[in-house]
Symmetry: C2
Subunit: 425 residues, 2 copies
């Protein structure tokens, strides 16, 4: 038992906005790393990408049909089809190697290279091929270039195609493939060390027993870190032993250290002192509910967040401080990633001027029902809730009927309808 740290209150509490501003100022995105093409979707591009190729690299057919000289089709109609000799076939990846001359055509598939001499494609639907395949009659005139995709029609050599900072979408990755990129430079994913402390904790997957409880915070943090693009370093639960906690907090591999538990001002709460010794404890005690015992600072290059052990406090402190930092390190926007809706409050929310509240709300009949502001130990409140409402420091609370913005935990219950059907259809 450690006796040298006396139980005492927080000397003063910082504003949430002040801490947020500090973190925004301190955070730079990480260095870049090369990422294989098949792994790049969802990553943040660190380079500006230009194409080194025309795509396509050759004129191609936009239709299945017959390639010929467009001017020779002039006058063709259903009542006066024009016959052509069919010289052969052009397939995607297998060009027709001959020359298309007057009165001649080449059977061609979508995406196949336009044969030399031809400048237009008549679509198959208006053509009639003879049984032996040697002749075709066309019943529609096409101007030169009709149904022909020119070289570079999708992307031209030298074109800038993606800007740095872009979060790579599935179609962006496809485009990178089409311009021949085997890999691209992306912002590194922040490496996150979880430091979960507590002699009372059993590892996730165990049954609770006696006065021991199961570590649930690491399970929650794991999901949040994945959502925000971080990658977890190896993890184990630590006892309340300062030397072990200190060593884990000093992990030189980590960009972010999330310490869960031991962040308050109690006897066994070593983390704040250890962080102050290792680097800087920039804030400790924040004017918010829950999560007021949150602390944060730096140890070497890493950001260290001292998250309260109570699960709701742990969640809120992560969302307010660690989440934005993790996203910013990875090149993503700091803003909370939750979808938001605005709904009227079914009941008032009480708060205090100068304090920021994270209020779990459920949604029923189009109204937001506040479930809890306090009860930081009640994890199930975040499971019952549809999302959270933030009451900022400038408010004493929010009135019944007032419209509030809800940060949704997910959208499954609120999925919009199919875009295929209109109201009443």
């Amino acid at each position: 038992m450690v006796r040298d740290v006396r139980m005492r209150g927080f000397a003063e509490r910082a504003d949430v906005a002040e801490v947020d501003a500090f973190l925004a100022e301190e955070t730079r995105s990480l260095a870049s790393e090369e990422v294989e093409l098949l792994d790049c979707t969802g990553r943040v591009l660190a380079e500006g990408v230009e194409s080194k190729f025309d795509v396509p690299g050759f004129p191609r057919s936009a239709m299945d049909g017959y390639a010929l000289r467009g001017e020779e089709s002039f006058g063709a109609s259903e009542y006066a089809p024009i016959p052509f000799d069919v010289l052969g076939t052009a397939l995607p990846g297998a060009a027709f190697e001959g020359q298309v001359g007057p009165g001649q055509a080449v059977r061609i598939m979508t995406g196949a290279p336009i044969p030399s001499g031809a400048d237009a494609v008549v679509m198959a639907e208006v053509c009639s091929e003879s049984a032996d395949g040697d002749r075709v009659e066309i019943s529609e005139a096409v101007p030169p270039q009709k149904n022909v995709g020119v070289a570079g029609e999708d992307i031209r050599k030298g074109d800038p195609v993606l800007a740095p900072g872009r979060r790579i979408r599935p179609q962006d990755a496809a485009l990178l493939a089409s311009i021949g990129r085997p890999r691209v430079a992306c912002i590194a994913r922040p490496r996150v060390k979880l430091v979960v402390t507590g002699n009372e904790l059993l590892p996730a997957g165990s049954a609770p027993e006696g006065v021991c409880i199961v570590d649930s915070n690491s399970v929650m943090l794991r999901g949040l870190v994945a959502r925000d693009g971080g990658q977890l370093l190896p993890f184990e639960i630590l006892p309340d032993d300062p030397a072990q906690i200190r060593a884990a907090m000093a992990d030189s591999q980590a960009d972010v250290v999330l310490v869960s538990g031991g962040s308050s001002v109690g006897q066994e709460d070593h983390a704040p002192r250890l962080l102050a010794e290792l680097g800087s404890l920039d804030f400790h005690g924040i004017s918010m509910r829950p999560s007021s015992p949150t602390g944060l600072g730096r140890a070497g290059d890493a950001f260290v967040f001292l998250l309260p052990g109570n699960p709701v406090s742990c969640l809120a402190a992560y969302e307010f401080f660690a989440g934005p930092t993790l996203r910013a390190l990875g090149g993503r926007p700091r803003a909370w990633p939750h979808r938001r809706i605005r709904l009227p409050l079914a009941r008032k929310i009480a708060s205090s001027i100068g304090r920021t509240d994270y209020v779990r709300v459920s949604i029923e009949e189009g109204r937001a029902i506040p479930l809890a502001t306090s009860g930081a130990s009640i994890l199930s409140s975040t499971v019952r809730a549809s999302g959270a409402v933030i009451v900022s420091r400038g408010h004493e609370g929010m009135a019944e009927g007032e419209e509030v913005e809800i940060l949704l935990y997910d959208e499954d219950g609120l999925a919009a309808g199919s875009p295929l059907l209109e109201p009443g259809e």
Copy 2:
């Protein structure tokens, strides 16, 4: 070269809504599988979960402070503190084993078990401990039960905690940990076989060369399948060889087969015939732009989607038909997962009654700018676009200035501000 399938037009085209209704009717969610706790976040729960434990399993302190008999604190104030003997300490996971009698208190940390005999906790901030730690003076009265969390205050044994169909959130997984679950039953993730065909295709990561192009559709589909919760089976590009395509389409491991390329009515387009032979080609040719050559049906238990080879057609056909099916198989909502915003059109969109259009739009100065309806081969249009507008079959188009719903490809450019700060703050 196959000559027995003649090039011909589609006999008739189905409505998008008709195909959508068919798929909605045919799709059932997959069977369940046991998933390890640490892998369950984001999965869809297949069972209803009840707690087999009270959480916490014992009365615990909600504060750092001193546990005592609440009634003995009555009358305590800053001016008239009441002294108690300190018997020892209760820590999380380490109960104080003695009995708390009259005039006695136990030093206690948040989360520690309440010692026998005590019924309330006075918070540390209003207590003053003697230097030797044997005595404490408290300057605030607390009623019985104050700062005490009763057994089961978070979750009671027998409580239903999560319903089947729930998409597991980080905090849900944490709750599962806290009630001692090592694993849970989740809907299986649909196994997806990609069948990409084309003699002209080079594998992703290659540089384009001559008349060969790089396979980009599999790269895009990989990202979309991951978004929709599917898992990919091993993949290779196939030549336009009916026997190989047929064998790949008949993969008995797959819940969904996505065939890219070879879906039209041209000479090398084997897939529709092969699907009709293997199972059923339920639709082929859909009244939409792009993606009209899309086909789909069943082969054994699998859903088979014949996606056009043109990349934009491939994307749109996936989004309209394969995506909802994949999500429904995995127990998720069929609805498109895109975030949506409503903005006025900067220019009109032309369409046709009876046809559904998938129009790429960019967003500039709060208005939606239609980039392209046609140009199914222009992958870069989906990269330049912010999202898509669906023009349903009942419309000839949409007028300049009309407000349209945009299905956003992502939200990074439109990230909402921090919820911490109010406008003007």
